[in-house]
Symmetry: C2
Subunit: 330 residues, 2 copies
């Protein structure tokens, strides 16, 4: 295997989050499915935004959050995703580059605006996502730089990329290039509803192309259409080299062939906003993995990083994660 310039290249939707508090009755009145990510068009985005309370804008996007977390841990990250050349696109580019991440996907000069995700955080710290994909629909295979993918130990793909039609082709190209270069391919299942939309494709990917799978309990159960976690665990075991399955306050299970780790959740003082919990778990895990750490340590790292993220509003770290991990992991 040749030299790698990057630990992980993430490919995903380049999104700016618009975060606000909301009550459960607000979700009901506006017919929003709690806990889910729902795709909306530009008109619906305007309409729902106009009803939303005061908000804060933070760069987001699932794979982008993971790469941001990896970079904050000291990892060498790259990101591929499509913004427009507008103000929110500039914000997205600034925030990821400010962490030292390589981000050179050209911004679209026409077409829809930079993607936004309206994030409604309810008092139970659950988040409900309404995503306007905007410029993300213009991500295509041409945006995949083969040298970049070949130069990363891991290519990390978010399941949400299956939603914009062209991005799927970018996703497939990246996976192919990574495989040919002898690199690892990681996939996050993103969301149980996303799994519902694309189950057949995801099953094929997991069985044939994915080395490292990230899924939470609901997602992996949805993938195999089984009613309990253990049934899903038995199914996934044979397919991926590594599966990291997260279970919120019940901790996580890491399975890699015969090796199985059942890890407790890290303590959290107060859960404020679960946006980005899965993304940041993947950040910690992949950083550990690309540093050559054992799987149990990778799992703990994922838990430590996720615990930081859910303790405040927003999906990206509020403090340098390298420092946090040094304190927590000793």
């Amino acid at each position: 295997m040749t030299d790698t310039r990057f630990d992980v290249v993430g490919i995903g939707n380049a999104i700016v989050d618009v975060l606000g508090h909301a009550s459960d009755s607000f979700l009901d009145v506006n017919d929003l499915t709690k806990g889910a990510m729902t795709l909306i068009d530009a008109d619906a985005a305007e309409r729902i935004y106009s009803r939303m309370g005061p908000a804060v804008e933070c760069s987001g996007g699932s794979a982008a959050n993971t790469i941001a977390g990896l970079a904050s841990l000291g990892g060498r990250g790259a990101f591929v995703g499509k913004v427009r050349d507008d103000q929110l696109g500039a914000v997205f580019g600034h925030d990821i580059r400010a962490l030292g991440v390589h981000f050179e996907t050209p911004a679209a000069t026409d077409g829809p605006a930079t993607a936004r995700c309206l994030v409604f955080v309810t008092p139970d710290a659950q988040r409900t996502l309404q995503t306007y994909l905007g410029a993300c629909v213009n991500l295509g295979p041409d945006d995949i730089d083969e040298d970049l993918v070949a130069a990363a130990k891991v290519t990390y793909l978010e399941g949400y990329l299956w939603d914009p039609p062209q991005a799927k082709e970018a996703f497939r190209k990246a996976a192919r290039v990574a495989e040919q270069a002898g690199r690892q391919v990681a996939l996050s299942l993103s969301d149980p509803f996303c799994v519902d939309r694309h189950r057949g494709d995801f099953l094929e990917l997991v069985e044939n192309h994915v080395d490292i799978l990230f899924a939470n309990e609901d997602e992996v159960m949805s993938l195999y259409q089984v009613a309990d976690f253990d049934a899903a665990l038995q199914r996934v075991r044979g397919h991926c080299q590594i599966a990291a399955l997260t279970r919120s306050e019940k901790g996580a299970v890491i399975v890699a062939g015969d090796e199985v780790h059942v890890l407790d959740a890290e303590p959290v003082e107060k859960v404020v906003d679960t946006t980005g919990a899965g993304d940041s778990y993947a950040a910690g895990f992949l950083w550990g993995l690309t540093q050559g750490m054992d799987l149990a340590t990778c799992g703990r790292l994922g838990g430590v990083v996720a615990a930081e993220i859910i303790g405040h509003m927003g999906a990206r770290p509020d403090i340098p994660l390298r420092q946090l991990v040094a304190e927590r992991m000793g």
Copy 2:
């Protein structure tokens, strides 16, 4: 006095804050004056932003923060300020209207972009502001709706408005309309450096037009060019109907003719970011005043609201203030 539709109309720079953490050495290397608000042009804004770490965007602006706080307390607020018809302008308009604030100043359709303030928060919770005024330079007397000003109990003006040249005329027009309608005029001195830039004008305003003055210790001492707080206190006493003078952890002094209140600071668990401390103090104070409360209660309300704001990143309330005040004030 005729009926009032609004408790307070605020007139100020319409700004989106770009908030990030920074070290003291970052301020040194980039020649940023700690604790101050410095005006920068578009090129400098780009240059400094490119060196800034990951950030979060929140609507800001001094008087706008005050009106947002007033609305969150249940007060009837209006705001006059100039954005451009761009994405950050839409964010600013959304956030203030989402609080129920009347905001109908037409956005500029050409000229500079919506104003941004780069906010660097150091580990001591001090904030250093670099403001690109952008579209704010296009606020002028035509943007002052005389009926709106006449319909508000208090017209609240931020000292920063003295920076963009045309806005000064808008400021003077608003003060004149308010006086003629028998309303009160309030002024916030904004910043000791701002006082330095416009001392002569501010002295004339305070002596002849301002009924309610908000200033912190440094600002009021700068206004009168005296070296201790008490000297400034003795000077300001005769000029305004009411002066609310804030002193950070030393509390506040409210003076209105013979009436003087010396109030302790409200307890704060941890000071995270002092951005908006003065703005939110004015919000609490003016809400109390327009509800007919006594001055000591107004002062305490200011302190309670400011204590909430400095406990988190950003200059606007993170929770509905009406609820907070109900808990704290009993």
